[in-house]
Symmetry: C2
Subunit: 144 residues, 2 copies
DNA sequence: CCTTGTTAGTTACATTTTCAACTACTACCT
DNA sequence: AGGTAGTAGTTGAAAATGTAACTAACAAGG
C-alpha cells in the first residue's frame, strides 16, 4: 500500500481549491441573475472582449460548443445578449451584450474583482505572484 | 466597462487548472476501471486510510452523502469494495476494499503519484512548495 | 415504553452535463 | 457545376449531479 496522499495530488487539491473558492461567488450570479456558471462565463467574455461568435467563446473559454450553445440560448431568452447574423458567412452569429447584459456584467465583474482581492489577501505578494503564475501555466497547458 | 480579466480571477483560473490537470489522469481510472471521479476518490480514501464508514468519507473528502452513497453502490456492484454491518450501531456500515479494489488502488495511486511528479516538474522547488501551500489553504478554507 | 430529536444512508425527481447525431452552410478539388 | 469534406451551431437521449424527502436506527427525557 503506497503512502501517497490525496492531499499531495495536485489535480485533487486544485479541484478542492476551485470548488471552495467558487462557492461564494456562485451565489452572486445565481441569486442576483439566475445564471449558471457557463452563462456567467459567456457573459464575461462578451463583456470583456466585445462581440464574439460562439466558436470564439468556445476556444477562449475552453468550453464545449454544446455548453456555449445552451448558455447563449438561455442568456438570449433572458435578454442579456443579442444575436446578429454575419452576412459573409451565415454559419456564424455575432453575439453582443444588451443593455441589461452590460449592466449585469458591470455588476458581476466588479464583484468578482473584489472577491479576487479578498482571496488573494490571505497570501503575501510573493506567494500570490507565484500562485498565479503556476496556475496560469497549469491551466494553459494543452497536453502535459 | 471594467478591465478585470477572467485570467486574473482566481476561481476561474483554479477551475481551468483543475480541469486541465485532471484530464489525463481521468483517462486512467475511466478506461482501465470504468470509474467516475467520485468512485476513484472513495476508492482512494479506503485504500489510503483503511476501513471507513460512508460518513467518514463524506467528511474527509468534502463530498455530499448522496455522491458517496452512489459511488459506494457502484464500487460494490463491481466488487471493488465490500460492506460490513456494524453490530454496535446498525446505522453504520464499515467499508473495505476487496482484493480487486486493493489492486486497482495500488495501480491508480502509483499512477497518480507519477502523474503528480510530472505536473510538479514544470516548477522550481520553491514554486512548487508555495503552490502547494497556497492551494492547501484555498482548499481548506471553510468560509472566506 | 413513548415521544421527540438526531444521525447514517438511500431514493426520487429536477437540473446539468455529456455524447452522438443532425442541419445548414462554406470550401476545395476535379 | 457537382461531389466531398469541413465548420458553426443545434438538438435529443443518456449519464451525472444536486436537492429534498424519505427510511431505519439510535438516544435521551419524561
Amino acid at each position: 500500500m503506497s503512502d501517497f496522499d490525496l492531499r499531495d495530488f495536485l489535480p485533487y487539491v486544485l479541484n478542492m481549491a476551485a470548488e471552495q473558492s467558487s462557492i461564494e461567488f456562485q451565489k452572486l450570479y445565481k441569486d442576483r441573475y439566475g445564471m449558471l456558471r457557463t452563462e456567467w462565463r459567456v457573459l464575461f467574455h462578451l463583456g470583456r472582449y466585445g462581440t464574439l461568435t460562439a466558436k470564439e467563446i468556445c476556444d477562449r473559454a475552453n468550453m464545449h460548443k454544446t455548453k456555449v450553445s445552451r448558455a447563449v440560448a438561455r442568456l438570449e431568452s433572458r435578454r442579456f445578449i443579442a444575436r446578429q447574423e454575419v452576412e459573409e458567412d451565415r454559419r456564424h452569429e455575432r453575439l453582443d451584450l444588451t443593455k441589461a447584459g452590460q449592466a449585469a456584467y458591470a455588476d458581476l465583474s466588479a464583484a468578482a474583482q473584489a472577491f479576487d482581492a479578498k482571496l488573494a489577501a490571505q497570501f503575501s505578494p510573493e506567494e500570490e505572484a507565484i500562485l498565479r503564475r503556476c496556475l496560469t501555466r497549469l491551466a494553459a497547458l494543452p497536453k502535459v
